[in-house]
Amino acid sequence: MELLLIILIGLLYGAGVYMILRRSMVKLLLGIMFLGTGANILIFLLGGITKGKPPVIDESLKMFQDNYADPIPQALILTAIVISFALTAFAIVLLKRVYALVDSDDLDDLNTPEEEDI
């Protein structure tokens, strides 16, 4: 399973890079989401994956008695998911706004003529 996840990480990163090299703003955003997901899985994998043992202490115990999934990567990813949602939500609304102003999804249309002269 680790090997599959490793391939998945590569795919997610590759797809993300491919998407941010596009001209469309929506694709750019999708690319950033890809990269974020790839990073999450990467962290998840590196903490070591364990099946069926969530880091929750049993009702009757005060601390873990046997192996359990590493809680730190999970805490990190949880934060990352939430923050990336904040980014995505803001970017979506921003895109909408840009589209309303420029009437285009093309990043090149955002270049003002003055900038092109430089």
């Binding site: 399973m1 680790e2 090997l3 599959l4 490793i6 998945l8 997610l12 590759g14 890079v17 491919y18 001209r23 469309s24 929506v26 750019l28 999708l30 997901t37 790839g38 990467l42 998840f44 590196l46 364990t50 099946k51 880091p55 929750v56 202490i57 005060k62 601390m63 359990y68 999934a69 590493d70 809680p71 730190i72 805490a75 990813i77 949880l78 934060t79 998911i81 939430v82 923050i83 949602f85 904040a86 980014l87 995505t88 939500a89 803001f90 979506i92 609304v93 921003l94 909408k96 589209y99 309303a100 102003l101 009437d103 999804d105 093309d106 990043l107 090149d108 270049n111 900038e115 430089i118």
Partner: protein, 771 residues
Amino acid sequence: MLLTVLSGLIFSIVLVLFGRKFKAKWSILLPILPTLLFLYFAYQIPQISEGKSIIQHIDWVPSLGVNFDFHLDGLSLLFALLITGIGSCIFFYGRAYLKGHPYFDRFFGYLLLFMSAMLGVVLSDNILLLFVFWELTSISSFFLIGFNNDNPDSRKSALTALGITGFGGFFMLLALVLIGNIADTYTISELFTHRETILNHELYPLIIGLLFVGAFTKSAQFPFHFWLPGAMKAPTPVSAYLHSATMVKAGIYLLARFTPILGDHTYWNTTLLVVGGITMLYAAIHSLFRIDMKAILAYSTISALGVLTFLLGLGTREAMIAVSVFILAHALYKATLFMVTGIVDHETHTRDITVLSGLRKVLGPVALAGILAALSSAGLPFLTFGFIGKDLIYEATLHYTIPEWIWILTGLAVATNIGLVAAGFMAGIKPFVGTLPQEFEKVHLPYKSMWIPPLLLAILGVIFGILPALAGDFITNTASNAIWGNDTASHLKVWHGFNTVFILSLVTLIVGSLIYFINKPSLSKLQAVERLNNISPQRIITGYANDIVRFGQWYTNLFHNGYLRSYHLKIILFAEALIAYRLWLSGPINVDFWTLTYPDWYEIAIIFILIGAIYLVVTTPSRLTAVVGMSVIGYCICLIFVIYSAPDLAMTQFTIDTLSTVLFVLVLYKLPPFINLTSHTVLIRDAVVALGFGVILSLVAFKVWSEPISTEISDFYGENAYLLAKGKNVVNVILVDFRGIDTMFETVVLSIAAIGVYSLIRLRLKSSERE
């Protein structure tokens, strides 16, 4: 001494920033500061001339070796007197010259800044402090040359001057740091004791080479001389002060200051002789073809600076006396000539010597000053200080240590001086003799404060000429001692007897006068000479400078072309190269394949769905399909979290993914489908780059995964989650308890994003904003 330097700096800041607030009639106060400083330094003359020196030490940044160390010895005093003395004259003169100018206050601010910086240069006993002041003089010179900032020529000349002197200053800094490192001290007076260490160090040739670049650029030596004629775009008081009497001599000062430390070495002397020799002859010949009074003076100044460098290169006791005397003599007559030129320009609005003549009838005292200065520059015997200087130059060349060279060097000196005689006459006498053209009949004398300073300096030149011991015993003797490195008394005399030196002086004077009468400079001759400009150092160096600018533009356009995707591409390619290189360095990946777990069938299915969804999102032309694909990916990841013991993550991912999809669809449903804008080749290129990045990241993941990890922190949380924080879900405990403050700030970020989203949605477009 610190006060003498700082007072000017403080006043200049006040003037530049708040000068406008002061009333114009207060400008009478301006020359007070330089005059006071001059008196202060004059008061030190008796003490210094007895061979004492004054040292002041104030810590600034002791850990870096940068301190406010000041040292007033003979050489410093000579320069300090010139700076403050001529400075006072210039301040009086400039007040009248620039009366009513809108930037009057700023001009004097810059001038004061320059004066303090220059004082700093000659008083510093710390080489890094010296460098700071050195650069300050370059900067103030830049502002003063570009003072008429509405004139494009002026701006260009200012940039050239700053470029050349700044370039030299950079190299000089390297030399100074090297010296400081080798000798382990940055204090000049301590460096003397390390002379042998530096001289025998293998980097000695490099050090003096770098130092020479600094000194030669500042003192306008060939091939860096060309910024000086350009600098004449500055108002004339500036030319008189900075570009003939003081600042350009900073390079000479530097060389003289370092002569006892680095000098008396074959490399040192030969370089100075050659460069000085070329400069003095080249510039002297050039000056004969100019028709602009200021241009003549500019070239003759370059020539005089060449003479000084040349003399330092001779490296004999006589040469050092000649240096100190010639510095004083040149400053006196050249500043006068410049001020005279300024008056002529001010009153007749031309500086063309082919037009000007007979002005003695209307500008009597000015003509007197001009003629006296020209005679001093020509070295008229018995009457002028210039004669003493010229005498000493010949004395120095005739007594050179290598007999075969004597006649070459003397010949060079004579040829140069002949040129200087003629140039001095052209600028100082030509405009005043002959018949007065009708157009100049209405010319009248300017304010007294304009013509008194040059007259004063010219008369001072005559007094020193008649009584050279006055200047010699009190000022130049100790200065030459400081350059030479030990104390010996020498006395300046007017009459040395009817010897070779005297004959050479007479020959110089006569031939120079002949050339003055024969050579009639004209525009056509000037144009003929200017045709040679194509091979001049100026053309070559500015050519290089332009190439650098063009390279900069090309480079900037390459990397900063305004296309986001091109930035991304470069960053990613760079990252790929870097990570790949690191991976390659770290060697093969050692994996214990027994630790790998086998996937169940449903896991394989999830991965396949993921791969399909990724492919769909990347290739689909429809925005909605892409968004749906994205949410499929999110849910699949959610499933992976569920299987691999991360219930909290699964819940969060599920919620967030749903929300994102809803937001996407709600907000973006109106947008058009993707258009395929890019060509096939670009798509393939991007695909290759992306694939490469993916593979590299996979390898990184594999590599890191195969390394052992420390679980110390995780164990701590696992053990203490309930005991310390009374919570059984360890992930939750970490987030809200152990790392509670982090989570709080995360909430803040979310709130900010929420405010942003809300305000962007509520914001209505104004009709003017719609395109």
